[in-house]
């Protein structure tokens, strides 16, 4: 859910940009070093970025009738890890603003913060946590993708609430308001995205064990299983 260009007041737009900047710079520095040490990762990352953009442009099967798109945040975090996702997500968001007019330049910082930083970190944390509890892979992938999606949506609602506090009930009231406005589309979307990510990861385990190994897929046992 991209915050539209010009929707946030100037101070908030600047504030979220400042908040997102350190994450993106650290990520850019790490990715740059990775690409210098191992040149072959550059093309892999380029393919991943283009892939993330294209799946975000695919329409998801919608339950409530509204048009909704996959975010790919959870899948990206599961496959590449959140440190890389901050830069890749930022590049994808810039492309979405410039090629699809989704989101914008002034709201880029806010969108990066919710979609390329908070979402991937939550998804990755949930995946790691669920794997630590020995949950089946399908369950942990589903939870990671779904909760990553929900975290993104909650963050966006929070950003809007901070920018537009309710005159009567303040920021808390506004937060509840924005959460409930977007819930009818975002809740089913998160479930669908979770299911979709499970289908994708299952397919990849079955047919692309080698690729998963290149990516150092977060659970070594999974990659080994897939190879055998």
């Amino acid at each position: 859910m991209h915050i539209a260009e010009g929707f946030l007041p100037p101070l908030h737009a600047a504030g979220w940009t400042a908040a997102a900047l350190p994450f993106v710079i650290v990520s850019a520095w790490r990715v740059n070093r990775l690409m210098r040490d191992q040149p072959q990762t550059k093309l892999l990352l380029a393919a991943a970025g283009a892939f993330a953009f294209v799946i975000s442009a695919l329409k998801l099967p919608s339950v409530t009738g509204s048009c909704s798109h996959a975010t790919g945040t959870g899948l990206g975090a599961i496959l590449f890890g959140p440190a890389v996702m901050a830069l890749l997500g930022t590049i994808v968001l810039v492309f979405q603003a410039l090629l699809l007019a989704h989101g914008g330049i002034t709201t880029l910082g806010a969108n990066v913060f919710s979609m390329a930083i908070v979402g991937p970190w939550i998804a990755y944390g949930v995946l790691r946590g669920a794997q630590g509890l020995n949950a089946p892979l399908a369950v942990s992938v589903f939870l990671a993708a779904m909760l990553g999606d929900l975290a993104t949506y909650t963050m966006t609602a929070g950003q809007l609430a901070l920018a537009f506090p309710d005159p009567a009930s303040g920021i808390a009231g506004s937060f509840v308001k924005f959460l409930s406005v977007f819930a009818p589309t975002q809740l089913p979307l998160a479930v669908v995205e979770g299911l979709l990510t499970v289908v994708i990861v299952n397919f990849l385990r079955e047919y692309s064990g080698d690729e998963l190994q290149i990516l150092k897929f977060p659970s070594p046992t999974v990659a080994v299983e897939a190879r055998s």
Binding site: G6, W29, K42, A47, L58, P61, V92, F95, L196
Partner: protein
């Protein structure tokens, strides 16, 4: 997506130095955000629409379709700026004059800002944005990553479209559960092919002496100071006019 990219490459102002478009439109975007929206936004919207359609020769239809992109977001979000909620005694919804004004100013500000973005993306191809990025010190490796992604997006997009058509023709999207499965297959197939493409590209480049840097010729553009000055002057004029209007109204 292709429509925007198409106009960016074929409009009348395509050959201009990117700074001549980026600086005026960028400063107008900042003006839109900081000046009172009710007087500034209509001027900005009109000015940018004129520049896009009359100046750069982009069809009005293309401009309108870009402006409509955030419409869904505005439609869902704006009404709730006008309505205020009170939890003091149960849930209590009411409309307030302040809320209505906030909703109105936010809508016109977002539309005006969108028109600046629309002007930029419809007149400036993506590769022209790279030079300013280099200026602000983005590492060369990251810039190359951006250019590679730009190229691959169109390759993958075509593949996704073909796959989607083939699945639709085989009733892959006739039910919700089938849609999830079909989309999952499509996406994972795409991913597998993307990795394969990356590997092939890498082998091909290695064979041609790739050392981690792709060198390409960039067309040389001369910055036209008169054009830049005119653009910035017009932006100043819009700012002054909206200031006068605001004072006249208050």
């Amino acid at each position: 997506m292709r429509a925007i990219d198409h106009h960016a490459w074929t409009n009348r102002w395509r050959g201009w130095h990117p700074a001549e478009k980026l600086l005026p439109a960028g400063s107008l975007l900042i003006l839109t955000l900081v000046l009172p929206p009710l007087t500034t936004a209509p001027l900005v919207l009109a000015g940018m629409a004129l520049a896009t359609v009359r100046g750069a020769g982009v069809p009005l239809k293309a401009l309108l379709s870009v402006l409509a992109a955030p419409a869904a977001f505005l439609l869902a979000g704006v009404p709730f700026l006008a309505v205020s909620v009170d939890f003091a005694e149960g849930v209590n919804l009411h409309l307030s004059a302040d809320g209505l004004r906030l909703a109105l100013t936010t809508t016109v500000r977002a539309l005006a800002a969108m028109s600046c973005l629309a002007f930029l993306i419809l007149t400036t191809p993506l590769t022209d944005w790279i030079t300013p990025l280099r200026r602000i010190g983005v590492p060369a490796g990251v810039i190359e990553l951006i250019l590679l992604i730009y190229r691959l997006i169109f390759v993958f997009f075509e593949r996704a479209l073909t796959g989607h058509q083939a699945q639709t023709a085989r009733l892959g999207y006739s039910r919700v559960d089938r849609s999830v499965r079909s989309l999952g297959l499509l996406v994972s197939n795409l991913f597998q092919r993307a990795l394969e493409q990356a590997r092939r590209l890498e082998i091909g480049l290695m064979a041609r002496g790739y050392t981690g840097e792709l060198r390409v010729l960039a067309p040389k553009r001369v910055l036209s100071w008169p054009r830049l000055a005119t653009g910035l002057g017009l932006v100043g004029l819009v700012g002054a006019a909206s200031d006068l209007l605001a004072r006249g109204l208050s």
